[in-house]
């Protein structure tokens, strides 16, 4: 480790005394690569910084997207001179077994732990780090509390952790050697049992797991994780409305919006198919605005479908266009984007762990129309504060959209019932409990 880091840590120790040290290990830094997991992680880091009894330290990974950040010979560096923010320069990551393969990186991580001596090591993922770092953390810090937050099911499912079967795109209820082999015929059933025991061996080191939704807890418990170790902590988020109350236009609510990544599992293609169905039925008095990015990461077939649809839409006279693509957005643009819609559609094709976009819509009092599974269905109560439709079914979505456009007072009823999305404060408080620091005093250090 470089000297400036050691100095920085020494300085922090001298100035902050015996505060409980919480090391947050984050998959990517949200300012280097956007994504829900790192966003939540950073919100937590910022929230913990406000807590007088806790000294949070962030270790966020980066990858080849920013090669210039890889300082020669370094494995862990600072980040723009910020206090307690460090970058883990991921390299030689074994994507098959999700294993750290570089002895230098391993040594650097161990050295980092020994230098910082955190009381809590909170992994927000193993991706880019390696699941074997859990065992290393336990070995280096036998008395520290290890906390792990699940953001999807990658430990269970090799298909990007989505638990969507690659055979027919149906939802997968549980993993098994034979079922996983069916998704990856080139890998044997034995491989998947090895994968399972490999992950469980390292998850065994963890003291507390957290999931942002209840159904995830059930899924992981069914997979074999001790239910007593599993905690539900919702993903808190700073209020991006900043107190702005968007005006509610009178009359029918016929403006729909999509927010998120334009990749297959987010289901944007389902919206476009629903639009095509409604148009074919002659129902055209509505609009859909798309807000998001990363279409380049969609599969070629879905990307082509989306691009073709948008190109055809562009050819239409402006008055006949229904769908408009606004492209990517930053948090501070959310208010203006939300102002242009009445409903937020979340048509995900997998069982979302939580759905930060639901929170964002709720912050602007926009009811959500979502797939009827997973974290979305758990958060959005059908007919109470939003509407469900059958996952992956454009006909069902089209019917819901038509109803949303035409049913009097529906929007008002659902919008009025929208709950307050989880706050950062609440999330920090709950993580305090998970860390064993519930009494909010330095003396509440974990007794592992």
């Amino acid at each position: 480790m470089t000297l400036p880091i050691a100095e920085a840590i020494a300085h922090e120790k001298s100035t902050q005394g015996k505060n409980a040290k919480v090391l947050i290990v984050s998959l990517h830094h949200p300012e280097l690569m956007r994504g829900g997991a790192q966003q939540v992680c950073y919100e937590l880091f910022q929230g913990l910084k406000q807590d007088p009894g806790i000294e949070p330290i962030l270790l966020a990974s980066t990858d080849a997207a920013y090669p210039a950040l890889y300082k020669s010979g370094a494995c862990i560096t600072g980040f723009d001179g910020r206090n307690n923010e460090f970058l883990f320069l991921s390299t030689e990551y074994d994507t098959l077994w999700h294993k750290a393969g570089s002895p230098r990186l391993i040594e650097a991580f161990a050295d980092f732990l020994e230098t910082i001596q955190p009381d809590v090591v909170h992994f927000h993922h193993f991706l880019t780090f390696g699941v074997n770092l859990l065992a290393l953390a336990r070995k280096v810090l036998p008395n520290a509390k290890l906390v792990f937050t699940f953001h999807e099911f990658l430990g269970i499912c090799d298909a990007r952790g989505h638990m969507v079967r690659l055979t027919d795109h149906s939802l997968c209820s549980h993993a098994s050697p034979v079922r996983c082999h069916q998704c990856f015929p080139e890998r044997s059933p034995e491989h998947f049992l090895m994968r399972q025991i490999w992950f469980k061996r390292h998850f065994d080191e963890v003291d507390v797991f957290t999931c942002p939704s209840q159904f995830m807890i059930d899924r992981y418990a069914a997979w074999g994780i001790d239910r007593k170790k599993l905690l539900h902590i919702a993903n808190g988020q700073a209020d991006c409305s900043r107190g702005i109350k968007l005006p509610v236009p009178a009359g029918p609510k016929r403006r729909f919006g999509f927010f998120g990544q334009m990749i297959d599992v987010k289901g944007i293609q389902i919206i476009l198919r629903a639009v095509a169905l409604l148009r074919a039925q002659g129902f055209t008095n509505f609009t859909v605005e798309l807000n998001g990015d990363n279409l380049r990461y969609a599969t070629p077939i879905v990307r082509e479908e989306i691009e073709t649809f948008l190109a055809e839409e562009e050819k239409l006279p402006y008055a006949q266009r229904i769908v408009q693509n606004n492209g990517s957005y930053q948090v501070d643009q959310l208010a203006s984007r939300m102002a242009r819609i009445d409903w937020s559609i979340v048509p995900s094709l997998w069982e979302e762990a939580f759905g930060l976009v639901v929170s964002e819509a709720w912050m602007f009092r926009r009811p959500v129309i979502c797939s009827n599974v997973g974290g979305l269905a758990e958060r959005v109560t059908n007919e109470v504060n939003g509407l469900h439709f059958q996952i992956g079914d454009p006909h069902a979505l089209a019917a819901v959209m038509q109803r949303a456009c035409t049913e009097a007072d529906l929007w008002e009823r659902l919008s009025a019932a929208i709950p307050q999305p989880p706050s950062v404060t609440k999330m920090v408080s709950e993580y305090r409990g998970a860390y064993g620091l519930a009494d909010e005093t330095p003396s509440g250090l974990p007794d592992h």
């Binding site: 030689e92 074994d94 098959l96 077994w97 294993k99 750290a100 393969g101 570089s102 002895p103 391993i106 040594e107 161990a110 074997n132 770092l133 065992a135 290393l136 070995k139 050697p177 034979v178 044997s188 059933p189 034995e190 491989h191 998947f192 049992l193 090895m194 025991i197 490999w198 061996r201 390292h202 065994d204």
Partner: protein, 556 residues
């Protein structure tokens, strides 16, 4: 005609067109005729006057001086008695030149090995008279010939020739070369098919011994047979091919073992109850996986790991992984890197020399613990049981699906048939079977401690002194398979049968290495060798699931 675009690279015709060959006299094919017509004034069939004079220039001078009228005259007077037609000089002179009706053919490649063997492969459309001899020679003293030709199907050749039938046009042959160092210069390959003959310019491509072994084994499994493939291959192996390949393998594996390098990762434990020796091939990732799983078992600090790598290309990765394993799980590892694939048996024998315990556990890399306390249980078992019951023992192994994979091994004798030239021939082949393969997990009869004819090498716990006294794993077995059964039979023969004791492990059978065609060839040879060595012993009371003297299922 070129097929598979290989012909032009490997070989070109040495003497141009067939018409040219005819004007050159086109010597007849017979190299060593068995009978000659002495009474006739014409040359007997097979006698090559030009070759005779080329081989023996002193006779040319004798003819010039009038001592003899012709080469044939000399042959009649002296040559037959002196065995001149069997003289190497005559034979070498004889193989020059092409005949007019040599069938379409291609020599696709010649691969030579400095151990003195050369593999020839290609195809020939020899409808009536099959190709029956290859002779390789050059001006540097190279000379090798064989009349043993193996045939295999070549769909590309059949398609190219527009043939509908499935005739095996492909051929390969193995030559033993007298002066291997002379093999790699410009050479000539003479191919004979009955009376037809053609000489090709040839360039032998050099292959390292282990690569050469790989190639030959791949060809072994391609051999075309009209009957039972195993039986027919056994007959080929009986006729020298088996011993030849085993000798090649012995030379290679011995050299590999001599070239072993040991890398120590971490500080070795001061004393241990057992040394776990693991042979790796093609799957470096299994080292991390296995150590991760074993490291969670209580009592592992009393055991050490010795990994032996048969894959030199994995060396860097293994050293890195072992370093990571040591740092993460605290397990010191002794890594033995071999310069090539010495095979399972020799690699484990080599690993033994790096192990420090009197108790050796040979464990496959795809074996994982199911019982967290197995180290203590194993140590206790070795301590408590009579010495004869733990000199060599195995354990029940389970599949990923929970069913039993192994509860000991027994032997059966297969009988295969060959139908050639109106005759029926039988051949016995030993088969090794696992007790309880696929049985429900709690099938007591297969799990209990008992004496068994053999146990798998996937997990084998042995007393080191006993193991060494019976010679360890026999090095004759190529790559893997049958050496474990062989070891158990050696132990039995020496007075201590194998046992199985209840200490369950997972075994992802067949996932510990990378499958490849040459492995099938090696398995055939190993089975042949195992049959050759142990057939009589097995038939003499060891055959079947319940051999005499061994407890039947469920009995202890």
């Amino acid at each position: 005609m070129a097929v598979a675009n290989k012909t032009e690279d490997a070989v070109t015709s040495a003497s141009g067109t067939s018409a040219q060959a005819a004007t050159n006299g086109g010597p007849s094919k017979q190299i060593a005729p068995t009978t000659l017509d002495w009474s006739s004034g014409t040359a007997p069939e097979g006698f090559d006057e030009v070759a005779y004079l080329a081989a023996f220039p002193d006779i040319v001078r004798s003819i010039k001086t009038g001592q003899f009228q012709s080469a044939l005259h000399h042959f009649r007077v002296h040559g037959q008695r002196e065995g001149r037609l069997n003289d190497i000089r005559y034979q070498r002179a004889c193989v020059k030149g092409n005949t007019a009706s040599f069938p379409p053919a291609s020599i696709d490649g010649l691969v030579g090995c400095m151990t003195g063997q050369c593999l020839i492969y290609g195809w020939i459309k020899d409808n009536d008279v099959p190709v029956d001899q290859f002779t390789l020679r050059n001006n540097f003293g190279l000379w090798a010939t064989t009349q043993t030709v193996y045939r295999y199907r070549r769909k590309d050749a059949s398609d190219s020739l527009g043939l509908q039938d499935d005739k095996p046009l492909g051929f390969w042959a193995l030559l033993n070369v007298e002066k291997p160092e002379m093999m790699f210069g410009p050479s000539e390959l003479v191919v004979s098919a009955g009376l037809e003959r053609k000489t090709f310019n040839a360039q032998v491509r050099s292959a390292l011994p282990d690569r050469f072994r790989e190639i030959v084994l791949e060809y072994l499994v391609k051999i075309y047979h009209s009957g039972d493939t195993r039986v027919e291959t056994f007959f080929h192996l009986d006729n020298g091919l088996g011993n030849s390949l085993i000798q090649l393998n012995l030379d290679i594996s011995k050299k590999m073992a001599q070239g072993a390098q040991t890398v120590e990762i971490g500080t070795p434990r001061s004393s241990v109850d057992g040394s776990i020796v693991v042979c790796l091939f093609g799957r470096p990732d299994l080292l991390s996986l296995q150590c991760a799983m074993f490291s969670k078992c209580r009592g592992m600090e009393r055991y050490e790991f010795v990994y032996v790598s048969n894959s030199p290309e994995m060396a860097d990765r293994l050293i890195k992984d072992a370093t990571v394993v040591h740092r993460v799980y605290g397990i010191p590892i002794r890594l033995v890197i071999l310069p090539g694939n010495a095979g399972f048996g020799v690699a484990n024998n080599t690993g033994l020399s790096a192990a420090r315990s009197e108790r050796i556990l040979f464990v496959n890399p795809d074996v994982f613990p199911t019982e967290p306390d197995w180290p203590a249980l194993h140590t206790q078992l070795v301590k408590d049981r009579p010495a004869d019951q733990v000199a060599l023992f195995g354990v029940p192994l389970f599949y990923d699906d929970g069913s039993l994979m192994h509860g000991g091994m027994y032997f059966e004798v297969d009988r295969g048939f060959s139908f050639r030239d109106g005759k029926t021939t039988t051949r016995e082949m030993l088969r090794v079977e696992h007790y309880g393969k696929g049985a429900p997990p709690k099938t007591e009869g297969y799990l209990s401690s008992r004496m068994v004819p053999a146990v798998t090498g996937a997990f084998m716990s042995v007393n080191r002194s006993w193991f060494e006294s019976i010679g360890g794993f026999s090095p004759e077995y190529i790559f893997g398979h049958y050496e474990d059964a062989d070891l158990c039979l050696k132990s039995l023969q020496a007075g201590k049968p194998a046992w199985i004791h209840r200490l369950p492990f997972l075994h992802f059978e067949g996932k510990g290495s990378i499958p490849r065609p040459s492995l099938d060839g090696a398995m055939l040879i190993n089975r042949w060798h195992f049959t050759t060595v142990w057939s009589e012993a097995v038939k003499n009371g060891l055959c079947g699931k319940n051999p005499e003297g061994f407890p039947a299922r469920g009995q202890q």
